[in-house]
Each structure stands twice: as structure tokens, then as C-alpha cells.
Symmetry: C2
DNA sequence: GGGGTACTAAACATCAGCGTTGACTACTGA
DNA sequence: TCAGTAGTCAACGCTGATGTTTAGTACCCC
């Protein structure tokens, strides 16, 4: 009697799905406490999988950590760029508000991936080789070089600022915003301020003629006289 | 002979200094791997102190964690605002390039405090009550309300963007910049781009009249016509 | 039905961190 | 000088994680 299904056995013949479940659980742990706190035991527990099974898929803790890292990297890329297939190469350039909304929605809907990415940035290794980061910078470069961005932009720095703050914001908000309505409102605040910032900056230029002088490249010179109007 | 100083005993009559050494070591561990990885054993080892001594100062691991957190919070505040004593209340407002340089230098010279702060932001608790954060926002508000910032700025969001990216940047850079010269160069790149961004934004406004329309508050309206010049 | 694959269960040795305890040392004050 | 106290240390038992091993069960396909 009920001998066949005893003791919560999984009976999963598909190793792929088990592997994914383990990686998903690993992502959750990773996003919670960072890569140093990732333990095989905890991951297996979360995945609802026997510890031995986890060790079957990933021989050591380090293997699991590395596999999780690259899996996360792939997932971020797919989640973010998956549905805009190969089109950005030559076709249209997304308008900045759409692109920003895309980024912010990604961050809000994927807090675990965001956290994992940020932990990776903070790790000693760095994410410079990350596919997602490289594509993001490349797209921003194309955008800027297309004449839509100011010519003396430091694209990498701007990419870093926008990316890191957009991914960190929902985390920061989640820590002290009550309901989902409040969170959505905070999300809007971020998008609005970011758009405002990229459109106009934050300083009243009239007060700082010497800074305007110093920081405006030769091409932006015509802009300096403007605020006086 | 040499019985009195046997076995590397510390012979430290001053508990304050021992406590500081422990806290300093705790900060190092905290900055390295995050709050979840903070272990009394590792901290004691780093501090060159017996584990028992650490337990005398901080009865449990949690006590050490909390004490470290508030100590770090205090240190960030002091390190950043310590030498501008009470003067910012009514007297002068620092020019934005000086303030930014101050922030960036702090981040570069105190990577551990920066990392600790960022880990705190990423923790579930949040840093909203942090003295440093509150003062930073307050100063920025005074600055903006003094007419030096655009009127429709969302100060909190802008504070978050500038603070988080300024503190995260040196960490990101440190992960893949070779010498100190390269790091200094990267630091300058960040400051330049940040100044450029706050002065001018990142978009060529001519291309986005509808965005300019949408995101410019009533007070900034006179600025819209400017770029056409 | 038999063999291979995927998973579970349980036990083991090893190691590291936690928290406690008792003893040792140095300074203090009567 | 001598007891008391504060600071420090070494050792102990406990827990939990790592990685390995062995035995066993369910499933699939030939």
C-alpha cells in the first residue's frame, strides 16, 4: 500500500529539469546573501532535491557556484534581449524612454537576477566580460553615435550609472515600500527622474558658467549660450 | 626568562583599542563578503585577537554584526562630514564639482566603507534611517531649493543615483584596473561624466521634442526653446 | 524482463564556526 | 604586599556544511 510513492520521491527522469530547479534555487540563495553564502545543502533544500542529487549534477560547491553564475548571466541576457531578436543591429533604435522603461521593468520584475548581477559587480572578478553588459554598452554607443546622445558622452560611464542605479533602485525600494502600489509609484519616480536627468541634467546652468565652460566639449559649445534665453 | 611575554599575549590594558581593532577587522570581513559571511572566528583572526576576547566584547555573532553596522554608519558619517563641522546649516553651499569630488574621493579612499554601505543598501533592512544618507539628501535638498538645482528634481532619487553609482564605481573599477594610475584615470572619467550629466543631461534634446515637453516642469519651460539656438 | 539512468536515503569522516568555561596575566588599590 | 578585577587566552563540546560512499527505488527503452 502506497509503497511506490513513499517518502516524497520525485521520480523525475528528466535531468534537465532537475538541473534547472537546482540552478533556480541556487539563484535564490545567491540573490539573498551573495555568492559567499551559497551552500549546496541550502540549495538542495530549496530545490526540494536530495543533497546527493545536487552533488550528482555539480561535483563541488565551486562547480555549482560557477554554473549558477553563467546560468544567471545567460538568463539576464535572454530575459532582457531575448524578444528583440537580432534586430537592433541595423534596424531601428529604441527611443530612450522606451529603453529606460524596459530596463526598469526588467529590474522590478527580476529582483533576483538584479541582485545577482549587482553581487557580481561587487565581486572581485568583475563583470566586464558579461554578455549583457557588453551588449548594453554597445547599444548605448550606437545610440550615442547616431546623434541621439551628446557627443562628448563617456558611454561606458553612463552605461554604468544608468544600469547600476536602475538595478539597485527596486532593491532599495523593496526594503522600505509597503504595498505593490507604493512600489509602482517609486518605480515611476525613478523613471521620471532618470528621464529628466538625461534630458536636462540637474543643475541650473546659469549659476555655473565656469563649469559649463569647463565641461562642455567643442561640439556642445552652442548649447552654452542657450540657458540665458 | 621571557615568561611574562610568552605565547604572543597582547597585554593590552586598553579595551577600547581592542574593541576598535575587532570592529575594524569586522569591517574588512563585512566589506569582503557581505554581512551574512561575517564570522567571529575570521574577525578575531584578522584582528590578531583571541576568539574568546572577541566574545567578551561582543557576546554573540549578532551583537558583533549590529555593533559593526552602527560603527560603520558612524564612521562613514564622520569620514565624510567630520571636517565640515556644523557649518553647512546656514553658511555656504559647496559648489557641485567640489561636492562631487569630495564624494568620489571618499569612495576611492574608503572602498571598505563603500562596500559596507552598498551591502547595507542591498540588505533587506535598508538604510533609510542612516545618518549619512539623511544628511546627504538634506544637503542636496538645500542645494536644490537654493535655486542651484532644477526645480522639478526628485531629490531623493537623484541622491540615490549619484550616491550609489559614486560608491559602486571604484569597486567596479578596482576589479579590472591594473595600477593606481589607471584607477585614478577611471576616477576622473566618472567625475567628468557625472558633471557633464548633471550639467547637460545625455540626450540631444532636438531629437525628442515630445519628451522634452513631457518631462519639463512648468518652471523649466523656458529651457525647452533653448537648444534650437 | 534486463540494463542503464535519475533520483533518494543514510551513514561517514572532515572541517569550520559558535558559544562556554576555566585558567592565566597585568594592573589597581587598600 | 596581596587580594580583586579586567583583559586575554587555550581547550572543549556542539552544530552544520562539505564531499564521499553504499544501498536501494522508480522509470525508460531495448
Amino acid at each position: 500500500m502506497s509503497d511506490k510513492s513513499r517518502s516524497g520521491r520525485r521520480n523525475n527522469t528528466n535531468p534537465e529539469s532537475t538541473r534547472r530547479e537546482i540552478l533556480q534555487a541556487a539563484l535564490e540563495v545567491l540573490a539573498k546573501d551573495g555568492p559567499e553564502s551559497l551552500s549546496v545543502t541550502e540549495v538542495a533544500r530549496r530545490a526540494g532535491v536530495n543533497r546527493g542529487t545536487a552533488y550528482q549534477h555539480f561535483p563541488t560547491r565551486e562547480d555549482l557556484a560557477h554554473a549558477t553564475a553563467s546560468w544567471v548571466s545567460e538568463r539576464i541576457y535572454d530575459e532582457f534581449y531575448g524578444d528583440m531578436v537580432e534586430q537592433s543591429e541595423l534596424s531601428k533604435v529604441y527611443p530612450p524612454d522606451v529603453a529606460l522603461a524596459r530596463l526598469c521593468n526588467f529590474a522590478m520584475n527580476n529582483p533576483e537576477l538584479s541582485r545577482a548581477w549587482l553581487f557580481d559587480v561587487m565581486s572581485t572578478q568583475g563583470v566586464v566580460t558579461d554578455r549583457f553588459w557588453k551588449k548594453y554598452v554597445k547599444e548605448l554607443s550606437q545610440f550615442a553615435e547616431g546623434g541621439y546622445g551628446r557627443e562628448n558622452i563617456d558611454v561606458e560611464v553612463f552605461a554604468f550609472i544608468s544600469l547600476s542605479s536602475a538595478l539597485l533602485w527596486p532593491i532599495w525600494v523593496g526594503a522600505h515600500a509597503k504595498g505593490s502600489k507604493a512600489r509602482a509609484k517609486m518605480q515611476k519616480r525613478f523613471m521620471d527622474e532618470m528621464m529628466r536627468l538625461t534630458l536636462f541634467g540637474s543643475l541650473t546652468r546659469e549659476h555655473y558658467p565656469e563649469l559649463v565652460e569647463r565641461y562642455s566639449g567643442p561640439v556642445d559649445a552652442e548649447d552654452d549660450a542657450a540657458p540665458a534665453a
